[in-house]
Each structure stands twice: as structure tokens, then as C-alpha cells.
Subunit: 316 residues, 2 copies
């Protein structure tokens, strides 16, 4: 085996450059954050090779995905990211190259999203690499998941299903050749690298009654939102925005339409807003919040109910 | 396979009872914490089966250890725990029984230490169970690791090496019978269940110039403390407190003395304090902070230098 960084070296060489002053040089037991005059928002997500990404994916992108899924949760709450903590369990065969690339990707995103590393822990594992990130933000107006009101419109912030279709392509590589190159690249890239919608924070804090990020599939996530809000919803599935790339793949295999609406990893924002909200460009109205406690009703363009076998991604 | 909880069920049945109001019923994307008028202290530690504990250990104790190692970091900084986030990757063969016991142990400690669950994430893994906890505290006076001053005394808060010797016994079970029952139980229990020294917060914030918790072995951890403080130290190893149980095992196998001082998992506090500090009962002075940048010098009772092959536990 080639020589590898010691625990001290990998902290000082790879992770310290990403750390903010609160991290105390990653040379203390904990981070110290000054008093904030706004409430804190805290979220954690763990990504495991073979579950959330493929072990052979580029380490830069694995790092970015691990951070971004957390930033996406903050964005959905209207919270501005302030920092994050990272725990990583490295498999027996980790290499300096892999970890350097991982840290490079993490550092790029830490800079681009202005969110410093506050602390962390490195460990080993006999299993696949596991990455847990806890992100901390501050919020002016917290946008809860449970605030949807009867009469609200239901909105999404972008095309749905690209990442789930990208994952399907990874698992069905023989289909890659049947798609235009651009469509293929778009779907694969979206699976690898979500975009946390931090740009929507002003819109959400100004207009949304309830919001969440779409991580486990639109249909199941909407059901979660309506359930905790004590309401139901009607969605017209032809109003759900799909990208050209998604439509091209669905045209080849129509059954994938269901996967697009119920697969995970979108990281767009699902939210509801009152009747006076007029959505700007890039926000799609897909339905309405209704009274009742049933799961959302999905209808096709002619008003007929549509049912899916499975509404969302589940680990168990 | 017997029926297992769904992701929703395990959150609502097992983890919601441990959650504080900030967790929003574990039914939102993130936790919401009110503004605190004191600085925040944040720490994260990940525990992996086969590395930090044995997969067959009682799940209650695995949960408690995962939480306590984080609380220990807060204690060392003088920070009062306010809450924690949990990510857990479950192996393919997890059972309801296992997870119920895990949640029960976690809930007991959350209550005993008044530290609610703020949020979390559950995942699956093809490898061993991995548990990442991020703990959040507030602090009046942060006790940094880098504050040791020349002339300070070096102190520890309790007997050293019990947990490392307990681990050694687990790995050398043929030695179990050679030890008195009480000694054996004491060493094994200490490995399984650390005590976070939250009781020392007033002492540390009042008197310590520098502090850290001893998690990777006393000798190596003291070297970390003096290095970041820009000082050195002299330690008289006969002044290092050892428990009766540790002494009984070391008497049987004298080479284990080195392991006691360099093994991990003590979770006692190592700190330095000025010449005017007079240690209360239960605090041991083991040496002095000296000028220079060399690693701490260890001396036996006759003043002769002692060297160890390996100063601390390392993952890599």
C-alpha cells in the first residue's frame, strides 16, 4: 500500500484550509460560535456509498453532494447557511488521491456557498465510506413544513425527476445509447450533483406558508407536507414541470414517468403559498391544498385520478 | 425476515419521544433553536462497529457511548449540553429489537443529561452500523485546548487506562479468569460506558487555562495540548492515578502499564491550571507545563525519562 496521510496530516493539510475561524484550526475538541441574534436551524444527513452514491463516483462530487443535501434542507426552511460539521468513516482501501479530491470538492463548495467547516471527525470502517454532515444556519422567518392552508397553491421550484432518471440510467446503462448525448449528460449530472436552492430564501420567507425540499420523491414528499399540516391536496400531474431530458427518456420508456414523480434526489423546493401569491418565472404551480386528511390526489389532464405503486424512496 | 419498522415508524415510535420541542416532532427538514445569549459550542463524533465498539455490544450501551463521547467534548470546553443530532446507518440485518434497545438507551441518557434529540437521519449500509452524533452546547467561558502556560500544573480528573485495559480484556478473553471479578467488571464496563465529566464544568471554567478530554490516550493527548499551546510539559508517571482494577491487571502483565497511559477511551479531562490552583479531591496533579516545543517528557519516580513506542490510538 502506498503511504497515506496520518490522521493529523489529513486534518491539517486537507481539512484545515476549509475551516472557518470558529473551528479553532480543527485543533480543539469543539467549535466555538459567537452568539447569533437570529434563531438557529440545524439539520443532518448521512450519505453512504452504495445507497446515496456509487463508490466509484468522483470524490469531489460525493463531497459536494453530501454538503448540498444539507444546504438544501436549510434553503427549504429559509435559513442562511453559517457552517457545517463533517464526520467521515473511510473504508480500508482509501487513498490520499481520493481524500484529496474529496477535500478539494468540499472546499470549492464551502467557498461557493460561503459555509465554512466548523469541525469534524475521521474514522475507519470495514464497510463502505459513510459521510455525515450537520449544517447550521440562521433564519429571519422559519418556513415550517406544517403550515399549509386550505386554498393555498402548491408550487415546485424546478423540473422534477431528473436525478431519479439519472440514477435509473446508471442502473440500466444499456439505455444510455438510446438517448441524445445532451439529455443523458443532464440526467446523469443531476443525480451526481444537486443544486441547493439557496437563491429561493427571500421568496420562501416572503411568501411560503409551508415548504420542504424534495429529497425522497415529489409525490411522497407532498404527502408528508400535507399530513403534518393536517390538510390534503389536489395535483394535476400534467402541470408538474419536466425537463426536456426527462421527457426524452420518458418518451422512450413511458413507465419512467412514475419514477420521475416518485423517485428521490430532486432537491427542488416544494411549497405552498396563499391565493395572492403570483409565482415568478421558474416557479410552477402544480395544484391546490384542499381540506381533509387523505393523501394528495393526483389527476391527469382530464381530471381522472392517477395512482402510483410506490410514492417515494425509502431506505426500509 | 421478521417485519421491521418503516422509516416513518421508527422515527415516530422510537426517536420522537427523545426529541425536544426544537425538533418540531422530527417531522420537518430541520430543527429550530431559539436565539441563545451565550456562545455555542459544537462537536461531532462518529462511532463505527468494529472500530469504536463491538457489533455484539448491548445496543443501549452503544447508543449511550455515542452520545457520551460527544458530551465529553462539551464538558472539556466548559459547555453545557443543549441538544444533539443523530445520523445512523443501519446494517442490512438490523432488527426492531436492536433499534428499540438503541433508542431506549439513547432516551435514558438524553433524559439523564437533559440533552434532547434535535434531529437526525436514518440510512442503510452494506457495512457495519455507523453512528454520527453532533452535540451542541452553550458556554459562559470557553476553555480552549491552546491555553496552557509555562508554570501551570497538569491535572487529570480520574483514573487513566481502565477503558483501554477493558478493551484489551475483550481482545484477550483468556485473561479474564486471572482477574478478580470486580476488577474485570470495572474494566469491561468502563470501555463500554464512558462517563462524560459534565460535573467538572464549574471547576474548568473557573480554573483551567487549557483543557481537553482524553479520548485517544493520555500521553498522546497531552502532546496535542502542549503542541497547540506552544509549550512542553514534564509528567511524573508515578503520579498518574490508576484504579485498583487497572493495577491488578498491570500487576499480572506489567507491559500493560504502557497501554493504560497511551490507549484511548478514558473520557476523563486533562487540563492545566495556574500555580494558585489547589486541586479538590478527585483531581490529580501529574506534572507541570514547561517551556519549549518538545513533546512532554515522561519521568519515573526517580526522575529517569521513560519512552513509549506509540503514544496514542490512531485510526490511520
Amino acid at each position: 500500500m502506498t503511504k497515506r496521510y496520518s490522521e493529523d496530516e489529513l486534518i491539517s493539510k486537507l481539512f484545515s484550509p476549509i475551516a472557518g475561524p470558529e473551528a479553532l484550526g480543527l485543533a480543539d475538541d469543539a467549535a466555538l460560535m459567537a452568539v447569533r441574534d437570529k434563531p438557529l436551524v440545524l439539520t443532518t444527513d448521512m450519505l453512504v456509498a452504495g445507497v446515496h452514491f456509487f463508490a466509484q463516483d468522483p470524490p469531489e462530487l460525493i463531497a459536494k453532494k453530501a454538503l448540498r443535501v444539507n444546504l438544501s434542507d436549510l434553503a427549504a426552511k429559509g435559513a442562511v447557511p453559517q457552517g457545517f460539521l463533517l464526520s467521515i468513516a473511510l473504508p480500508m482501501d482509501w487513498s490520499n488521491d481520493w481524500l484529496e479530491s474529496f477535500a478539494r470538492g468540499l472546499g470549492e463548495d464551502a467557498q461557493d456557498f460561503a459555509v465554512p467547516l466548523l469541525g469534524g471527525d475521521t474514522s475507519s470502517t470495514s464497510g463502505p465510506v459513510a459521510i455525515s454532515i450537520t449544517a447550521i444556519g440562521t433564519v429571519e422567518t422559519f418556513v415550517a413544513r406544517r403550515g399549509a392552508r386550505v386554498g393555498d397553491g402548491v408550487y415546485v421550484s424546478g423540473p422534477i425527476g431528473e436525478a431519479a432518471l439519472g440514477l435509473w440510467l446508471r442502473e440500466n446503462p444499456e439505455r444510455l445509447e438510446t438517448l441524445p448525448l445532451e439529455a443523458r449528460d443532464s440526467l446523469l449530472a443531476r443525480y451526481l450533483l444537486p443544486r441547493p436552492r439557496l437563491d429561493l430564501i427571500p421568496l420562501l420567507t416572503g411568501a411560503a406558508n409551508a415548504a420542504m425540499d424534495i429529497s425522497d420523491g415529489l409525490v411522497g414528499d407532498l404527502a408528508k407536507l400535507t399530513r403534518v399540516s393536517g390538510v390534503s391536496a389536489e395535483v394535476t400531474i400534467s402541470d408538474i414541470p419536466l425537463s426536456l431530458a426527462a421527457l426524452q427518456l420518458i418518451a422512450l420508456k413511458p413507465k419512467l414517468f412514475e419514477l420521475a414523480l416518485t423517485g428521490g434526489d430532486d432537491y427542488e423546493i416544494l411549497f405552498t403559498a396563499g391565493a395572492d401569491f403570483s409565482p415568478p418565472k421558474g416557479i410552477w404551480r402544480i395544484g391546490s391544498v384542499t381540506a381533509g386528511s387523505n393523501p394528495p390526489e393526483l389527476r391527469d389532464g382530464e381530471g381522472k385520478s392517477v395512482f402510483f405503486k410506490k410514492n417515494s424512496y425509502r431506505h426500509f
